[in-house]
Symmetry: D3
Subunit: 217 residues, 6 copies
């Protein structure tokens, strides 16, 4: 079965990187795996430098894509799959034809790597999109503001988008999870999403029902 896995860019600044990538490699040997990596703090740093040079927002986005591709190359060289990093969905789809794990970073300005991951999940016919991030679950409100916010084991995508719209702070925190492009694509392609903390990848691999399920309704 085919799975798409999005790894947050923050993972690549974490001490757990090696452990998590080992779990990802194990996963790639069990399933047909497409991986998308974010750019994390490094992307933000380069964008800040570019802004101080007066680059336009389009150029800043181009710049911010590069760290995500650098992370993708790291993962690609580690997995036993395609050892290049496709730069567009067209290129991804061509390379995916050869039935090996493929890893991508960002594709183009104006969209998040969550959007990229949704496009890839759709094009590969993935049965699930796994968002490996820095929160262990989706909550019904921003847990940093509301101490009694409750984690949601399962939530409908439309509901999740409502929570995000209602609570700006949650929105900021989970922007990376689901942006409008991602929501549109997940809905039209009816792709289930699993949100989990990257340090739970190993448990996921062992079949545990970790994190939250987002149903495309």
């Amino acid at each position: 079965m085919t799975l798409t896995l999005k790894l947050t860019g923050k993972l690549f600044e974490s001490d757990e990187l090696v452990d998590v990538l080992k779990a990802v490699k194990d996963l790639s040997e069990k399933e047909d795996l497409a991986v998308v990596t974010g750019g994390g703090g490094l992307a933000r740093r380069y964008i800040a430098v570019g802004r101080s040079l007066g680059l336009n927002e389009g150029y800043l986005d181009l710049l911010g894509i590069e760290p995500s591709r650098m992370n993708a190359l790291l993962v690609a060289l580690y997995l036993d799959g395609y050892k290049g990093v496709p730069r567009s969905l067209e290129e991804f789809v061509s390379v995916w034809s050869f039935k090996r794990p493929v890893v991508a970073g960002g594709f183009q300005p104006g969209q998040s790597t969550a959007g990229v991951a949704s496009l890839i999940a759709e094009a590969t016919g993935s049965r699930e999109l796994i968002l490996a991030t820095t929160v262990d679950s989706v909550y019904d409100a921003d847990p940093r503001k509301y101490p009694n916010a409750r984690p949601l084991k399962e939530v409908r995508l439309s509901e999740l988008m409502d929570i995000l719209a209602r609570d700006q702070d949650v929105k900021a925190g989970t922007y990376e999870l689901i942006d409008p492009l991602a929501a549109k694509v997940l809905m039209r392609a009816k792709i289930r999403v699993r949100v989990l903390h990257y340090r739970d990848m190993r448990r996921y691999l062992q079949g545990e029902d970790v994190g939250s399920r987002v149903v495309p309704e």
Copy 2:
């Protein structure tokens, strides 16, 4: 000065195509011109065939991009500029470095050619994005439903997005004009938009204040 011009795909199915492209060529000799072309009815036809074959939505979008590129090639071969069709913003930006007119169609699934045009207008530092379409103006309501809808000579982008959100039918009719990606990019890059009917390109070229101006506020 730099301008980005979006030509609706419907133009390429119209008897006025040759006349309009002559005006575009004249414009390209006066200004630094980037052009984006839509895919029109041909894109919709191929998408319909692909759907009857059971292709996923991502593949359908890939398919729908091809007619827009075919239209772009037609324009590129006619203008005295770059005689290829860039397939991504990165490629566009590389080729644009050489200070010649460049023509693109779509870039990737999940976005309209209006989104592409906005990204290009931003990256090229265009002073204006011209949307050459099949309506002669922006209206304060759907003119097909409300006979006394008034054309707007100038409108703020936020206002226009409100009109579109309020009136689903207007939205459907002008979806091609401004989609969420386009709105986001135009706003952040503070790009003025001019909406005009393609048959008014010649008058625009002669300095007339045709169509509607959309102010990025």
Copy 3:
């Protein structure tokens, strides 16, 4: 065994497209299949527009290649093979290395997609080139002019070229089948050709001896 299949561009304007492509997919699962698609009426329409813009013949040919590639992409996205469209024989040959079905449209000005199909049949070592077209057989004269023209179950290539040379009208009608480049390549590589109507693809698949055989002598 390896087969090359040329699908006429007219198929893509026909109601039987979906049925025929299903047969092609079945064929691609039984044999090592290379497919070439024509551009049909769409190519002629774009060429006509380009001509009214005064484009040179070389540019018109470049333009006419695009619809054939669009058709190729449709087929490529449907088959379980390489999901890109190679733009030259070199690129075709590189991708073919990975032992998956590959679909191409035109390659370059000055040659038909029949020429392309012959080059591909030769390079892939195909045991047969199937020309799926809009006639159910090769005839000994133009059946539209001579009511008692007889269908030929088998014909030598040199003989067929003579028929085509003798009868200009037949030539016009079957130009798409065998142009001089195709004839030269088929002869030197000793490739057998089968000419059949595209609606007989399913019967061909089931082992029937449909259409005409052209022997490379």
Copy 4:
């Protein structure tokens, strides 16, 4: 004004190479110059080796294209123009957009570099195609067989093709000059051809009416 110049591959095995290329460089500084180079004896040698390995004719042609590209690279690195070698007409046309001299070798199997030169002359709108070869003129019969064969100062293309068809030996000797693809393209694009010996390039550059003129009629 634009000119296309075809240099026979034999030049690259000759002692006059440096002198001739100096004249070509001077020409490239006076005119907008496109250059095409043949592969000469080196191409034939590699094809022979490939044949002894049992490669198919398509692969042999691919192999024979490489020496022509090697010669093209030599010329490109020497001229003050584009320092790469386009591998297809599409690529040529894209690079030519930037108004610098461009040099190509062969493009694809099944055609001569004379065919390539014709396609390029057409696409660039060249006012003349110069065929710099090893004969100083076109003759009305094979001069090696008929001692009183007369050089032709001017000849119609149709007439020349008749001479070539009538006299197989002339055909063999001048095959490189005009093959069927070249004839077809030159005729439809109404391109004048000048046939001259490569050692007369300098005299041509100085305005002398050297060699033969072939009129596209």
Copy 5:
């Protein structure tokens, strides 16, 4: 006149980045400028991560090239030149044909960006290679170890290589300056080198004789 400028990767981690890049931009408007950027500490960080994953040295080098390209993209987007990053000398040379500033990072495993800069200086016929680094001069011994080490206003390349060979610590500190590939290329192409601290770029631009000159003898 043509200049090649190598910017140390450490610059991109410094507060002086914006000031230095402004001087580089001014330089690019006065001279034909090729720029090469290093990868700095970021390259070392990614290589360390890759090593902890057990990647081979070749993959580690591939990984370490990416940060240098990211820095190159930042500079390319800021200068008024080619807004892409060539990935090999061949690609560099092709793009350089169009007479615009071009910026590159690393090219391939097994060589430093100083090697890349030497290859580029040679291929572009640069009259000087400027190595903008973190030392203000070349010394006759390691200044960190020998307090009375003297700065050298001018030094022969062979002499400098001797100093580097004699004093391992100097070698470590200036390895980035001149590696064996760089030395070989600079010597054969007779390219003068100027070693200066990046914060002296503005003074260099104003015509001051800052840093050290290395003579290719």
Copy 6:
């Protein structure tokens, strides 16, 4: 198991070419094989021509790479593997992902094809690098000068580099075997080398311990 095989360019000018390539093909069916080909005398001839035209050393190296790629294409078209020729290590590594034999020539100026072969041996994790050349063994001195020079069945790499440094004539003769880049890469990646005469390829294939072993110490 993975092997990298370097074939000297001189092989391609030898009568034994076909026999040797047959042995290489047999080897490619038993092992995961990467092949690198040299450019031989043809490379030297083109470099000489380029030098007489006054090309810089960088351009001469670019020119000298082409014959090695032409030889690579010959081998690639003959083997049952990837039928293209990667132009950089990045491209090699991407194509190698698909687990088919791949053949490369040179990559870039300033390095030998032995350097290329070492980089490829490292990146592919080859258990051995086979250098098929024109000597049947490594010797403890130049056998052309010292009649009682002894062949070495096994030698440490550091020792071999000492022999090469001590005896300039040996160095000249075996320069092709191990250049500084190759030595550095072989050492860091701990790759065993086997030096043999190309006419012993068949015996090697049959398991004989032909030629010399170089141990990476």
